[in-house]
Amino acid sequence: MDRKLKLQPEAAPDWARQVSERPGCEGVFSCLQCGACSGTCPLSIYMDFSPRRIIALVREGFRKDALSSKTIWLCASCYSCAVHCPRQIHITDVMYSLKREAIQYRMYPARFPIPVLAQEFYKMVRRSGRSSETWLVLRMALRSNPLILLGMIRTGWEMLRAGRLSLERERIRDLESLPRVFGGREAA
């Protein structure tokens, strides 16, 4: 009897090949699915797909599932997976590549704060050359889900009292050098 995976009609093998040709993503087809990455990942318990499954989704061409996953945004870039991978796959770089594509095509999960944080961070540094964490977190919350601020009030207040929240708006002096750094590229 013919057995089909539920998702098979959505598979895009061309996309899988494309991803594997991007710098840093070359190794995806040599993945053994051993799961060393998922085992060592400190955040995998919070992920909707473990890193091993993300690699599996990528190489089978399940673009939508990979790009709209929370996993790629929960990756904290600790590089533990890349260190432990027996095939030396640069898994963190694969995650970055998927994040960039998810931003480009607006496929990240709705109301999920981390992709919003990344975009606000991008804008802030483009404007002032540095990030100011307190203002950044506020912008992230206001533009994704303001309710998360309620849960932060206590910690925020205590951090403020301990001098760990700076209200300074950081910026570099030589702001004129920024357009050169960005090479006249359009804002994302």
């Binding site: 990344a118 961070f121 540095r130 100011s132 964490e133 750094v181």
Partner: protein
């Protein structure tokens, strides 16, 4: 007294300020001076890499340029994300 260039990064001026305080105190005891990189900018780590890889590297390249101009032979970047961004960029520039 030997000295290093010092790249604090955005976190060490914000939520990571305790790390900066203890680090500076430690270097004083050890007898090394840390000269903060004049007009440093965001290193371009994680959040930047997630949006624009090219800009992430050019941001770090500006910091390396500042370090070069200030004639720092070596730069201390205590934040692991900053360290990685600067180190990766240096590697790509040298290649």
């Amino acid at each position: 007294m030997a000295g290093y260039g010092y790249f604090p990064g955005c976190s060490l001026k914000g939520t990571g300020v305790a790390y900066e305080e203890s680090l500076l105190a430690l270097f004083r005891v050890l007898g090394y001076t840390l000269a903060e990189l004049e007009d440093w900018n965001c290193c371009g780590a994680t959040s930047y890499m997630s949006i624009d890889e090219h800009a992430a590297f050019t941001l770090s390249a500006r910091n390396l340029k500042l370090a070069h101009e200030a004639r720092h032979r070596e730069v201390v970047a205590p934040c692991s994300a900053c360290y990685l961004a600067l180190r990766k960029t240096q590697d790509y520039v040298q290649r």
